[in-house]
Amino acid sequence: MAEEVKLMKGNEAIAHAAIRYGTDGYFGYPITPQSEIMETLMEEKPWETTGMVVLQAESEVAAINMVYGGAACGKRVMTSSSSPGVSLKQEGISYMAGAELPGLIVNVMRGGPGLGTIQPSQADYFQTVKGGGHGDYRLITLAPASVQEMADHVALGFDLSFKYNNPAMILTDGVIGQMMEKVVLPEFRPRKTEEEIRAEQPWATLGKLKNRKPNIITSLELDSSIMEQNNIRFQTKYKTIEANEVLYEEIQCEDADYLIVAFGSAARISQKAIDIARKEGIKAGLFRPITLWPFPAKRLNEYKDKVKGILTVELNAGQMVEDVRLAVECKIPVNHYGRLGGIVPAPREVLNELKELK
């Protein structure tokens, strides 16, 4: 039976998708513009239906450490926040990466730095894909551009994080979180039983059965020669992810003379700019990275001989543009257009910048 088409906010879609995925626990702390995620969960009371735990923590720090604890037990656990709160979570994310724990973190970005503004922004790109917390680690990063993708990326994020035992983030912003669109929610899946988790995540700390050694979840290793080996293992895993899990969307790129590269809400705005450009006779296309890490560098590289120039559009001062320039080896002009501090550019502004490339 076809699922009902619903109208809801991106934030609400994440909450509903989480329940339907069979998520075991959500731990969060309110912050605009993403509080609807926890509010929706509290309204839905999934503990009465699927048994999902929903807990308002005392801080973002506590929330991410609750995720760390839940993940250590092999559970599907998640948290969500917005930029200032996600900064607070970075320590916990680093620990998760170091202990090789899966888990889902949602960042509905707002303008910074500092307390900044509650309006939409994409200024946490560097924080998310270049580190954020301490140490050499990578965070699987998904950038939904619609309410439908907000719902779909919950399952995608969890699946990837469990496939690689690595945290994953949905990196979105106030536009996608707050806007309402049509969405078809995913099918309900049952939560994993303890027996299933013991079988699929044999490392999980669910109590030491007599037939096995203790499971210890830790990121600590004082012997540097072993710690180096751990790091090499992580890097090998990251290379595998980079080779296998890249996702992107190409819109009218086949015959394009000019390319806009943009993700999330900026991609939606840029798509409109491209529609207008095409009407005006400019052959422009949109390249939309869906995974920001792993970044679709290989595919973008192929465009260095095909297009005359690239414009990156971001709600920041120029962050992803660095990765685009690296991807095309600086062989073609790569300009950046961004609005800052919570201002969202209009399609016409983007179009004007696109024309500057010519």
Binding site: F27, A62, V77, N215
Partner: protein, 255 residues
């Protein structure tokens, strides 16, 4: 009659043994440190209550960071101060498990104060074992929130000064005020009698958690021979004379 060694080492002659769950890994703790005794008690209680397959321990950052190397159960090593948050999630996601944290004074009463208070206030069905030796042992003897006034440490070399550092924090007195706690007790392990009492209290805490009575905190007033720069014997005497007046032993709350 002279007995041969082989005759002495017989099961029927056994009067005391290392707990089954305490493994043979040599402990990194200093001779005279209280941690070893408390580890032994925890291992004994888990075994006696037949909770080996149900217990998840949360290790802190501090000297007990390697607690997971010594007791053969499942362990999660938490970020500094966050053990109560980790434990809250583990217990809520696995209500049938036995979940305890094992934390020092810096972990529990400085960097992790918020997590400690809120886990207790939510009435999480967990046990918090709190080793208070009034000093940061692992990092080399710096001042702790529980360091006594005038007590010298690496970061208060002239003694803790109220004007500069404020007062020793009696965190358990604070936690006893919270509706979510069911047991708050202060014990020590410096004599055989004290060890026996401490074990009784720890066992009660574990029972509370399994009976979903709320949060139980057992503070063990402890020594730190290296941080205090004393022999084990001196440290025990100093603890009785100086720590006990500030942190009197006994039950602060039991319901």
């Amino acid at each position: 009659m002279i007995m041969e060694t082989a005759e002495i080492i017989k099961p029927e002659n056994l009067v005391y043994d290392k707990p089954r769950l305490l493994n043979d890994t040599p402990m990194h703790y200093c001779p005279g440190c209280s941690h070893g005794v408390v580890h032994k008690l925890v291992a004994e209680i888990i075994d006696e209550m037949e909770l080996e397959e149900k217990t998840i321990g949360i290790a802190p950052v501090g000297c007990a960071v390697f607690a997971y190397n010594y007791i053969d159960i499942d362990w999660i090593e938490a970020a500094h101060g966050r053990a109560p948050a980790v434990a809250s999630a583990v217990k809520r996601l696995n209500p049938d498990k036995m979940v305890f944290t094992y934390q020092g004074d810096g972990d529990l009463a400085a960097i992790g104060t918020a997590e400690t208070i809120h886990a207790c206030n939510r009435g999480e069905n967990i046990v918090i074992i709190f080793i208070n030796n009034a000093i940061y042992g692992m990092t080399g003897g710096q001042m702790a929130p529980t360091t006594l006034l005038a007590m010298p440490t690496a970061t208060s070399p002239n003694g803790r000064d109220v004007a500069l550092n404020g007062y020793p924090l009696k965190i358990c007195d604070l936690l006893a005020q919270l509706e979510g706690t069911c047991l708050v007790a202060r014990e020590s392990v410096h004599t055989a009698a004290a060890v026996k009492k401490a074990k009784k209290m720890l066992r009660k805490a574990f029972e509370n958690a399994m009976n979903e009575k709320g949060a139980s905190i057992v503070e063990i007033v402890s020594t730190c021979v290296s941080g205090w720069k004393m022999t084990p014997d001196q440290a025990n005497k100093w603890m009785v004379e100086n720590m006990f007046p500030m942190y009197p032993l006994g039950i602060l709350k039991d319901r």
